[in-house]
């Protein structure tokens, strides 16, 4: 497989990988690093790539695992760093959110969900994957995915309703 063929192959889902990484890692730079990492890993596997029947699902799974690993090591690293630096940031973030628009609110709400739910929301509501595809990516059965997704959506709704009634907007 040469490079051009590979680029053609990854182009349809390159941005999906990026968006999933951005959902989990938040920062654009880290998401781009993650995308690159995943693509290079795929490229290094190019000899066996043909044997996968769904390369996109493989790529998404790799992205998910890579990002979760990143988060884990980041958290482990954060524990070592002095904590006041972490709490300092909180008021600033709140302040910033006060004058941001409602779409950013949704983003904030989603970011507060557990990672597993964030992944599901990203895959289903943003990328519009079918349930059987999601099942392959996250290695869960479809019923469990539906239940979790319903929980995630309700949580978002709940937070949105709170926002609405407290009149923060």
């Amino acid at each position: 497989m040469n490079q051009n063929v590979f680029i053609e192959l990854i182009n349809p889902f390159k941005d999906k990988v990026f968006r999933l990484a951005k959902r989990l890692l938040t920062s654009t730079e880290e998401a781009e690093d993650a995308t690159q990492e995943v693509m290079v890993k795929l490229w290094n596997k190019k000899e066996v790539l043909d044997s996968y029947n769904n390369i996109e699902a493989v790529a998404m799974t790799m992205t998910k695992n890579y990002c979760l690993d990143q988060l884990k090591s980041k958290r482990a690293g954060n524990l070592k760093i002095v904590h006041n630096n972490y709490t300092d940031r909180e008021p600033q973030l709140d302040k910033k959110l006060e004058d941001s628009n409602s779409l950013e609110w949704v983003e904030k709400i989603i970011n507060q969900l557990p990672e597993q739910l964030q992944i599901l929301i990203q895959l289903r509501d943003v990328e519009q994957y079918e349930f059987d595809e999601i099942a392959k990516i996250v290695n869960m059965n479809e019923t469990a995915i539906r239940v979790a997704l319903s929980r995630a959506r309700k949580k978002i709704r709940e937070s949105m309703v709170n926002t609405h009634s407290y009149g923060i907007q």
Binding site: Q3, F6, I7, I10, K14, D15, V17, F18, R19, K22, R23, A31, E32, T35, Q36, M39, V40, W43, N44, S102, L103, W105, V106, E107, I110, R124, D125, V126, E127, Q128, E130, I145, R146, V147, A148, L149, S150, R153, K154, I156, R157, M160, V161, H164
Partner: protein
């Protein structure tokens, strides 16, 4: 009627039971300008999903295209060092091969006849032993010292 349909879809949506097509319908509805007042609160949610999907990675992915080349370079350098080592090795090997017999011939006398060799060996050994005896002779004096010492110090 439209409201009802959307409300039903929303209900299904929050139960996680909508299909992709139905979800698309919801998205389309909430991105349209005429959203019912009481459903307004869901607008940001679906708006957000559509907005996020527009995000694109701007960077090019630098594939390690040199990976194969790198491997070639590695092999090339290994091959080159083997050649150099072989070159040095054969050079020394050859020069030693040439030099060795010459040294042996000129510096060490050899005898072809065994009797002659025996005689020469005996002569050499006799020379050695006579010199050793000279050494022993001079050590004999020490015995004198010991005798006189024994006379003085009673044990």
């Amino acid at each position: 009627m439209e409201f009802n349909k959307i409300e039903n879809l929303l209900e299904k949506y929050f139960q996680g039971e909508t299909s992709i097509a139905e979800e698309k319908e919801l998205k389309d509805y909430f991105s349209s300008p005429n959203v019912a007042q009481h459903l307004e609160q869901y607008k940001p949610m679906f708006g957000y999903f559509s907005q996020v999907k527009e995000q694109k990675s701007t960077q090019d992915i630098p594939l390690p295209k040199s990976r194969d080349n790198k491997r070639n370079v590695a092999w090339l350098s290994i091959a080159a060092s083997v050649v150099v080592l072989l070159g040095i090795g054969t050079y020394f090997y050859m020069s030693e091969k040439n030099a060795a017999p010459a040294v042996a011939q000129s510096e060490l006398g050899t005898y072809d006849d065994p009797e002659e060799a025996l005689a020469a060996t005996q002569k050499a050994l006799a020379l050695l032993s006579s010199n050793v005896n000279v050494g022993i002779g001079s050590v004999q004096y020490i015995k004198e010292y010991e005798q006189s010492k024994n006379k003085i110090f009673k044990q």
